[in-house]
Every structure is written in C-alpha cells, then in structure tokens.
Amino acid sequence: MSAYLGVDIGSRTVKVILLDGEGRILARGLATAGHDGPAVAARLVAKVCAEAGIAASQVGATVATGYGRGRYAAADAESSEITCHARGARYLVPDARTVIDIGGQDSKVIRLDGAGRVLDFVMNDRCAAGTGRFLEVMADAMGLPVSELAALHARAERPASVSSTCTVFAESEVISHLARGVAPADIVAGLHAAIASRVFALAERVGLEPVLTCTGGVARNAGFVSALSSAARMPIVVAEDAQFAGALGAALLALARQVERR
C-alpha cells in the first residue's frame, strides 16, 4: 500500500497527516515545534508512520507547508499555507466557501469558489495580535492553561473590555483587570471578543460567504469560535480535524502529485 504525507511545520506546532491512496486519513500527529521545527517534524513523521505500520519506502510523496516548509529536506514539494488550508478545509467541510485559519503567529481568511479554488485571501499584517500566540500570552498572564479558555468563556457574565489588540498592551490591560478583581471568565470572554473583531475586520477585506469554517489550533477553542460567529453574524462549522487542515491539504497535494504522475 502507498501512503501520502502532509507535513505542516507551523510557528508553534508541527502537524502530520498520512493518507492512503484513496485519500482516507490513516494517521495524524501533533507536536510542539520548539526551536527546530523541521527536526521535530522528521521525528513526528517517523512516529506517525510507525503507528500506522507504513515503512518509509511506502510513502509515495511528501508535501511540506507552514513556516518551516523550505527547510524540510524529505519533502518532494512545498506549498504555501493558503493553498494547503484551502484544500484541507474543503476536504473536511466540502461546501466551505470561506476559511478562517488562526494559527500560532498568523491568521488568514481564504475565499473559495464552488470548485474549491482560491478566489482571494488575506493575512494579518506583521503583528501577532489576533493569533494563537496572543491567546497563549494572555492565558499565561492569567496563570491558566490555554485548554481552559473555552470553559471559562462559557461562564462569563459580563465580558470585560480589552481595547487594545496589541499583544504587549493587551497583556497590561489583562493584568490591571485582574488587579481590579474582574472575574477571569469575563476577561477571557473580552479577549476572545477582541480577537474576533480583529479577525472579522480582516475577513471583511475579502468578504465572508457561507459556509464559513474555521481551521488552525484556535478553532479548538469553542469560546473564541462563538465570539467570531457573533462578530460575523454567521454560523461557523468546525471539523474535528480543524487543526490538521494545513497538513491534510499538503497530504492531498502529495496524493495529487502521485495521481498526475501515474
């Protein structure tokens, strides 16, 4: 059996997807990128392949994406995250026309046509506000694990206002909210609303068309997704494998390369 690998070396995490020749997901893997994403990716690929019982010789093609894509030596090709997230999101949510991807250090909005081709896209400008890293910094300032943000958001009564989306200034705002005794749940809801409005403003540049789906690690945060859905006044479909959309798109490109060659 042949298998096809997609490797997404992001700024914060590395994601790997292994597909079979029919495009079915055989295995997936996730690891923290640390300071050497490509090395982490190589180890993760070995682990994922071993778990799926796939030998290196059975891998038909590998496509890399994400910030570390150019330094992943084992890749047959590399592709931008826009192309990969579009492909991956379309696989997960077949009728998606707008994809909002919130990654570790950037956010992107992609508009697709009926056939899944990229019509337009926009990425955040040179600033990590409105990204996963922003939430990590805020969670850290509040002494919380990121995984608890969604649960806290659900308990918010009166979301606090976080006026600045600059990571540094927002952190001081969070600290002063805490000092004034504002409930952490309300601060978290305020943070989510602040990012959502920033991402929504970005999305408006390309226009939001349903069906809207959210990908990337932050899509797992239900509190943020609900804040974004309110800002966009539109339901958001989040697939189980949303965090793997980039790697999945890369794996689909690897499969397509193979099909073309046949």
């Binding site: 826009i82 990229v118 019509l119």
Partner: protein
C-alpha cells in the same frame, strides 16, 4: 539573489546621465542656481530659466538602494517620527548627517519648490529644509480633484500661482523668463513624455520586452531630465532597444507565463530581490501605476494654463475611483492575469484606499489582486518571510485559476 533579467544595453547610458546630473547638482563653484523640487513640480519653468532642478525624492531612492536605514535613524534622532515618509526622513537625515550619506549628501539648495499635488508631506518636509539651509521656499498649492474635473477657479488659482512662481524665480535668478525658451522646454518635455509612453506601450507585447524593475530604473530620466534633450536621446535609445527585443523575441524574464500590474512606488532596496520571487515562477510585471504617473503631456494652449492643467491632473491628485479605473484599464490593455498592490508605509496618498481599490479592480477586471505591506526605502518595514509567504500563495492561486 542573482537577478534573472537580461541586462539593458541602455543602462550604461542612464548611469552616465544620472552621474552627470548629480555632478552638476553638487558641483562646487556652480554658476547656475540650484533648486530642490518635488517630483510633481513644474520643472519646465526652471529649464526655461536655466535653473538646475534637483529631486530629493530621487536622491532618497538612490540612498535606499544602497541601504538608507542609518539616514532614517539620523532623522528619527532629530525627533522625526518613524511614521513619516522615508523619502522625507532620508532627505532630512542626509542634510543632518551628510558624512554617512551617498555622495557625502546632496549639498545645498539655493531655492526650494514644493508642489503638494503628490502629497501634503512635501510642504512640511520642504519647510524643514528651508529652515535648515536658510533658503527661500515656494509652495505651489494644487487643490485635490475629488471628481476628476478641473474647476475654472482651481485652474485660475494654480495659473495665478505659476505667475507668482515666475516672478519669484526671476528675482532669485536675476533675469527675466524668456517665453520662447519656455515653449522650447514644454516641447522637449512633451517629446520625452511621448517616448516614455511608447516605451511602456511596447510592454503590451507577449512576451513583454521590459518588466517593472526595468521601468523603475529607467524612469530616472523622465523624473530628473524631463524638458532636456538628454532625456529624449536616452528614451529613443531605450525605445529602439525594447523594439529590438520584441523583433528578436527577447523577453524581460525567462518563460513569461503570468502578466501582472504593479501598484505604488517600487521597493528600492529590494527591487530585484523582490521581483525575482515572481520572475522565478514566470510572472512578469508588464505595467504599473507608478511610472505611468509621468505619462502626462502638457496640452497645447496658453503655457501657464496648460502647465496648471497638467500639474493639477497628475495621478496622485485624483480620486480613488479614477486611480482604480486606471489600474483596471492597465489590466485590460496589457492582458494581465492579476495585480499586486504595495501598501507603502511611507506613501499615504498612494496607499490609502488600496483595500477598497483592490476589491473594485478585482471585481471589474475579474482577476485576483494581492495587497501586502512594505516600504519604498525603509527595510525595517520589510518583513521577508511574511511577504514571501503571501507572494507564493498568490502565485499558487494564479496557477490554480489556469484552465
């Protein structure tokens, strides 16, 4: 990064002309007065008066191509904001710290002329220069054209200021304007403009004989030497070189597959580096809104009224709708597959409204457009990885639209 563009034969002549121009501008013991002017100033009056025109904007671009962050920092150390136009910061920085500037600075002006048809910044920038060098400044105020028509009162207002400018120049130069020489300068200017237009039109050929970096470099003559016989001689040479390339099938980049339009000022310190990302994938910039801004003929008629009309109607003094339509027109006329907008941190008039223009143009021309942030000179505002990312994604999307 290696430049993957065939070198222009005319390049050597251009270098000679630019060096000669700056030698004249900086020459010690000069006999003719030197005026520092903005790019949209009516230079034909200076030609007719035998006054040397020097362009701090062009000088800043030259500085930037050699790395101008120290000059920006010199201006910032004086208190100028990092948000200020980098041409202005480089110019003010070079005036304050000529020892770290190319050619050891731009020397001293005798006169300053700022025309606000390109932006409002030039007024304050030139006022700062006037204070620093203690020389007279003339501000030519050209009202913005929100609906692209020149109202009679606006025309009279600018023509009246041109009369004032002539008297001001006559006092400074100690001689009268010779109207016959003005007519001659206007004719020389128009001839160079017509050649420049013809050269740009040749890029409608497939493959294109020239690309945006070629135009950005060779536009130096239309800026610095407009209204002189040298500009005409140079553009004749360039026109014949481009025509020869078409006859011989020589293209500006190897394997042209995509044709694109560029919007905004070039990124001078990264000019070849930046465009190589496109050239490597067969994407050639065949037209742009920047070098086209000098495609402005002075209409026949009463000279001052014609000059007023021309300098009121320049690209940046017009509505967003006009500029978007001009961009869409280039996409149609040059058969382009997409467009790229440089949101230039320095140039507010060029960049403000680009997000809206991008939507308008993409819809009317039915091609995708990329908008990215950088700066024409200040490399601190050029984020290598995010820009490369956007460029790659844009080119992949273009590829995906291929049938």
């Amino acid at each position: 990064m290696a430049r993957n563009y065939p070198r222009l034969e005319s390049g050597a002549e251009l270098t000679r002309l630019v060096i000669e121009h700056y030698t004249q501008a900086l020459g010690t013991g000069r006999s003719r007065p030197v005026a520092w002017v903005t790019s949209g100033a009516p230079v034909e009056l200076l030609r007719a008066m035998d006054i040397v025109a020097v362009y701090p904007e062009n000088y800043a671009a030259i500085c930037a191509s050699q790395g101008a962050v120290p000059l920006c920092e010199a201006a910032e150390a004086l208190g100028y904001s990092r948000d200020l136009c980098s041409y202005a910061r480089i110019s003010l920085g070079a005036a304050a710290a000529p020892q770290v500037a190319p050619f050891a600075g731009l020397g001293r002006p005798d006169l300053l002329i700022a025309c606000n048809n390109i932006c409002g910044t030039v007024v304050k920038w030139f006022q700062a220069l006037a204070r620093q060098f203690d020389v007279p400044l003339f501000v030519l105020d050209t009202p913005f054209l929100p609906d692209d028509t020149i109202a009679p009162h606006a025309l009279a207002y600018v023509a009246g200021q041109l009369e004032d400018l002539i008297r001001w120049l006559e006092r400074a130069a100690g001689r009268r304007l010779n109207r016959a020489r003005l007519d001659e300068a206007l004719a020389l200017s128009n001839e160079a403009v017509a050649l420049w237009r013809d050269i740009r039109h040749l890029c409608q050929a497939r493959p294109s004989p020239l690309s945006a970096p070629d135009l950005f470099v060779t536009m130096a003559a239309i800026v610095l030497l407009r209204g002189t016989p040298e500009a005409i001689a140079f553009y004749r040479q360039l026109l014949s070189e481009a025509a020869q390339r078409i006859r011989e099938g020589v293209s500006a980049i190897d394997g042209e597959r995509f044709r694109l339009v560029w919007d905004n000022i070039a990124i001078w310190p990264r000019i070849y580096h930046f465009f190589s990302q496109f050239a490597r994938r067969g994407a050639c910039f065949v037209a742009d809104t920047y070098t086209g801004a000098w495609d402005v003929e002075i209409e026949p008629g009463e000279p001052l009224e014609s000059l007023a009309r021309t300098y009121l109607g320049i690209f940046l003094n017009r509505s967003l709708a006009y500029r978007a339509e001009r961009l869409a027109g280039l996409i149609r006329d040059y058969g382009c597959d997409g467009f790229v907008m440089h949101s230039n941190r320095s140039c507010k008039p060029f960049s403000l409204g680009q997000a809206a223009a991008r939507r308008l143009v993409a819809a009317s021309a039915n091609v995708p457009g990329l908008l990215f942030e950088a700066d024409m000179c200040d490399t601190r505002a050029y984020a290598e990885e995010p820009i490369a990312n956007r460029v790659q994604a844009f080119l992949e999307a273009l590829e995906g639209r291929r049938p």
